[in-house]
């Protein structure tokens, strides 16, 4: 695989007020894969994502398809953790999805009809088109998450970053989102997902980045998702896995 088709993280470190939050993390993933970023609470999963996006002061380098973050900003869709959003904000569902189009609209122009159509197509994809005129706070958690996924879709990006997209959402929404992510992956998009529920890791992801401040292991799910690695990451308080084969105590 050439660098042109990879996301390469090289010796990435982040300090918070003198404390090391992320230590010397290096890994690479291929274009067209769904990458799960997993690890215990406080492992630096969000920090890693923010550092990769250049939102956090860090040491080390990150290259996306052989380009620095600066060059591909417009090509990145980001879905924030649900609890960072003010759900009383006076915007409707369609307004939020339209925000995904903002980087495509020249600054001197009004929002165009084509952008609205694109937003509606994205809403349809997540099954939320009937809710286009609702205020975002009137939706359930899963519906809210689907709206933000629709926003990411409407950006027409090649790279997706999702911060804990499955926390506090219903089964149906989770299924819709997972199917969509797989569809995107099949179109050659590269998707990073922060995730902390270990039970579905094997079903959801192609590659894993297992973290606990430093990199425990990164690579194909099969190689990373082993009892030994998880024990190292979770230090005893780990999770149940691989029915029948081996058990690690669950104690999150």
């Amino acid at each position: 695989m050439k660098k042109k088709d990879m996301v390469v993280v090289n010796r990435l470190s982040v300090h918070y007020h003198g404390n090391l939050a992320l230590k010397d993390v290096s890994f690479s993933v291929n274009r067209g894969s769904i990458v799960g970023v997993i690890g215990p609470n406080g492992a630096g999963k969000s920090t890693l994502m923010k550092a990769m996006l250049g939102l956090e002061r860090s040491k080390g380098t990150v290259s996306f398809f052989d380009q620095p973050i600066k060059e591909i900003r417009k090509n990145i869709a980001y879905v924030p953790q649900r609890n960072t959003i003010d759900w009383d904000f006076p915007v409707r569902v369609l307004d939020v999805v339209l925000m995904g189009r903002y980087m495509h609209i020249p600054w001197f122009m009004f929002t165009r009809k084509a952008d609205k159509l694109r937003a509606m197509v994205a809403l349809k994809k997540v099954g939320m088109e009937e809710f286009a005129n609702r205020q975002i706070g009137e939706l359930s958690g899963g519906q809210q998450q689907r709206v933000f996924i629709a926003r990411a879709l409407s950006q027409d990006s090649d790279l997706f970053f999702l911060d804990e997209p499955f926390v506090g959402i219903d089964v149906k929404s989770e299924e819709i989102i997972v199917n969509l992510l797989h569809e995107l992956r099949n179109q050659g998009k590269t998707i990073f997902v922060i995730h902390h529920d270990l039970s579905k890791v094997e079903k959801y992801f192609d590659q894993l980045v297992l973290l606990n401040q430093e990199l425990i292991h990164a690579g194909n799910v099969k190689d990373v998702y082993s009892a030994e690695n998880l024990k190292r990451a979770y230090q005893g308080s780990a999770a149940l896995m691989k029915e029948g084969k081996e058990l690690v105590v669950v104690n999150p």
């Binding site: 417009k74 924030p80 904000f89 915007v91 925000m99 980087m103 600054w107």
Partner: protein
Amino acid sequence: MIGQISSFIDQLVRYQYLQNAMLAAILVGIICGVIGCFIILRGMALMGDAISHAVLPGVVIAYMLGASFFIGAVITGVLTALSIGYISQNSRIKEDSAIGIMFTAMFALGIVMITGLQGTSVDLWHILFGNVLAVSKVDLWITVGIGAFVLLAVVLFYRPLLLSTFDETMAKASGLPVKFIHYMLMLLLSLVTVASLQTVGIVLVVAMLITPGATAYLLTDRFPVMLLLSAFFGVVSAVAGIFFSVIYDVSSGASIVLVASILFLFALFFSPKQGIIPRMLRTPIQQG
């Protein structure tokens, strides 16, 4: 009441100074309402209060140098915003404390300067509480200029402003200069404050920023509508406030703010969707 209104209109037609006052107050109502929406949604009400108080020393220095007090006020306003940012980013002091420290310091500096200048014609009372009836033609033109600039900036940068207000992380991730936008907003805030100096005065500017916007926030779920409603309530407060101030011969700034506050109370209790009373009526009565 009808007699009072016709007498007010009569005076309005007859006196130039009242026309100037009315136009200035309407403009201030509009721009305060618009900028106020962003201030509210960014949770920066305290910042609005801070910037408005912090322009005082700038006004006094400009007066001493014989320069336009608009320039002095804008410089101290932005300087205060920058130093609040500097303190909260470079020490363990949180932003609200940094705001509290900086704006009282600047305000105190202004008061010391004014009291030191005793014998001159800088009138502390008028700067603090406004004197809309003393708006001159030049003041009015400056207000028009500021108003045009602020509204143009909001229209041109509507999308970046909205996105960075709603979802800062995504705004940053997609490459928007979020910090720059913040300080631009502080610049606009200083400009709006200066424009409001004569109408409502430093102490009450924050009411014009927050109250109409908050009223609008209770009435709509759409941001563009909130902007329009907020500007509308700003204008209604301005007009009604000046009316009461002329008829009952009371402070104009305070009257304007009181009208805005009463409008807010109405929205708080009677807004169809968010109002306390309609919401109470909607909750099903508990059985048993």
